[in-house]
């Protein structure tokens, strides 16, 4: 099971469940599992988040694989100026 941590306001949406263990195999799968558990997350995930998998930050990478023992952080998306 990948350990998934929701950073910032996202934890509020899951009623404080900031850390979850989920058997997600990809970012897309992860979003699916999260939305099933907490439907209110769907909007935030769509509005734009970044996903850090084992320290590597990914943005807009639905197909990126997640390993069974990965450490995943869902963080606000970043761009810059």
């Amino acid at each position: 099971m990948a350990r998934v941590v929701l950073v910032g306001n996202l934890a509020q949406v899951t009623d404080g469940a900031g850390e979850l263990d989920l058997a997600a195999t990809s970012v897309q799968h992860l979003f699916q599992l999260l939305t099933e558990r907490h439907p209110a997350l769907a909007r935030h995930l769509e509005e734009g988040v970044a996903v850090a998998i084992d320290g590597q930050i990914y943005q807009d990478a639905l197909l990126e694989p997640i390993a069974p023992d990965s450490e995943v952080f869902i963080i606000p998306q970043i761009a810059g100026g």
């Binding site: 910032g8 590597q56 807009d60 990126e64 606000p76 970043i78 761009a79 810059g80 100026g81």
Partner: protein
Amino acid sequence: MQAKTSAALPQSYVGTRTVRPDGVDKVTGRARFGADFNLPGQLVGRVLRSPHAHARILSIDTSKAERLPGVKAVVTRDDFPDQSSEFIPAGEMMMNYRDVVRNVMAREKALYEGHAVAAVAATSTAVARRALKLIDVQYEVLPHVIDVVDAMKPEAPLLHEDLYTAGVEPKPERPSNIAKRVEIGHGDIEAGFARADVIVEREFSTQPVHQGYIEPHAALASVSEDGAVELWCTTQGHFIVRAHCARLLGLDIGKVRVTASEIGGGFGGKTVVYLEPLAVALSRKAKRPVKLVMSREEVFKASGPTSGARIKVKLGATKAGKFTGAFAELKYQAGAFQGSPVQPGTMCAFAPYDIEHVKVIGYDVVSNRPKVAAYRAPGAPISEFAVESVVDELAKKLEIDPVELRLQNAAREGTKAAYGPKFGPIGLIDTLHAVEKTNHYTTPLEEWQGRGVASGFWFNIGGETCASLTVNEDGTVSLMAGTPDIGGLRASLAMVAADELGVPYDKVRPIIGDTGSVGYNFLTGGSRSAFSGSMAVVEAAKQIKADLCTRAAKLWELAPDQVAFENGHVKPVGDTNGRHKPVSVADLAKVAGKTGGPIGGVGRINAQGAGPSFGTHLVDVEVDPETGRVTILRYTMAQDAGRAIHPSYVEGQYQGGAAQGIGWALNEEYIYGADGKLQNAGFLDYRMPVASDVPMIDAIIVEVPNPRHPYGVRGVGETPIVPPMAAIANAIENATGIRFTELPMSPPKVLKALKERGLNGVKA
């Protein structure tokens, strides 16, 4: 690289200082920037802007203007369909289309002085100006609020009746100007502070500052009778402009073709639309090309600066110097619509450090000033100014050298970042050491002189990128990228292409393609263009090399695995080595048509793996006790570039960002009157650094390769603006013993503080 053989090897360009291929046009005045384009029959566009900081728009009567001879089109809110609330995934500067359409053209209210209310297209500037005067707008002037703390008060004038603070449970009963509350952190800060031997707690305030690009916004639109749009504009992202114009005006994206002109500076401020949808709407109505250019006054009054803010920082450490707990509260102005960079501000605040217990809270607050736009590492310079000042104060209290204190707590590979994930290989420590080792660090100082140091961070991004390489019949290579070149990109990409294909640098001709010619590219920003562009170029080159090998193998009647590409040539390898002379890219290009058709490759990627760039700045200042003027005596900076494709342009990013930070620290600010109107909307009184304000800036390139990029590249453009304000505040404290917590530290403020302590007067 290989050992030299008898065949002349192509030179390796990455890491050298080539002359940029677009340079000659820029030093001769030939290069065409936004306002340099003209079309036959074009009309002059002008925008009518609200004179009030906050007002309900009761009515807009354009009839007299429309009847004026020479006026060919007038547009108002009625020409822009309303947009439902929809957040655009656009990075940290949350944008909502409902707000975008209102910022482009005011609807129910004018929310800042300068807010666009109507626009005209006419046969001459004089007619356009007269037409604006004939537009009758009835306003109901409302009380306004400018300051962020004032805007947060419950009794503050309300900008949006439907704005309820997000991120707060339960949802507030009443609307307010606080759009959002955000929070990040880990651990237990109470426990962290309990363990501290020394705690420093400080409040800071900063003012909005403008990106200050020398080239005002400009757009030229031509809409044909079938609704197809051609648009030339100065922008950091022509694909973004295309998307916004299509959305706001109900057009198919494919029917809008946007060409990015050369861009005269952006720094984040040209990642949004202002004039472009107006130009398209006017041209569509007038059936003629319409050109709109902002005056400098309009740039200040109607385009987004970055936030002003109030910041609280509390940092605790043991006697030995280990940080035990860190807290910050950030209140950022978003301007008239929500979307300040407070979120990245929270994430970056303590990013350089390994701290077990961290909590950062942020508030996004609207007020009656232009909607903020991104400005180089949005949000980070503000929060890190405050944190790096407190780190310095802590160092003084602990009697530990400020660089040593940072080294002790520095984030390194494997450190859990304040915003969650662990860092990969990073160069913060290398930059601290680099600065410590300089002669600058130990040069003695005189009276009224002081030295300060500060570090900084930006995440950097990758993003969607397309780049194509085409091998021409004579072996020269055409490179088409899709991210506007702000300063050196074409050179860098051409160097990578030259190295990948083994062709001379001057045989690679790079251009930036328009939206119809190259696939989707996210904008130039986020320190991504060289990082992502070079990745796409490598991919395109890979395709070409594979293709060349296939063709050569077939020509030689060899199996595919019996040939290989090396140093710009395809040659037989293994058993067949030496059977045929190697053929060059140019040789194969000559027979391209006969061996299958044109030779080319396209890299189409969503670049991932951007590596953060850390930097450390060291500055010496001299304070004049008679005038309060702070002079920058000496400036040294070290920053991690991963791998510098073109060292001169990497240094250029470092020096330019530092200079902007110097302006932010010492002079730049928006000055509003009690009437909510901007008083310094020009370069005379919005005082940016000039050549006599700064010394040479020693830029040290540190290279800790980014393992996820083929050349090890990290973005570098944004980090340089993060450390300067704190470094300078720390240097002023070192010189005077006075800790300044308000930016800018301009002469009147410095003099006042000196007077309060009886320190002012003519220098002995």
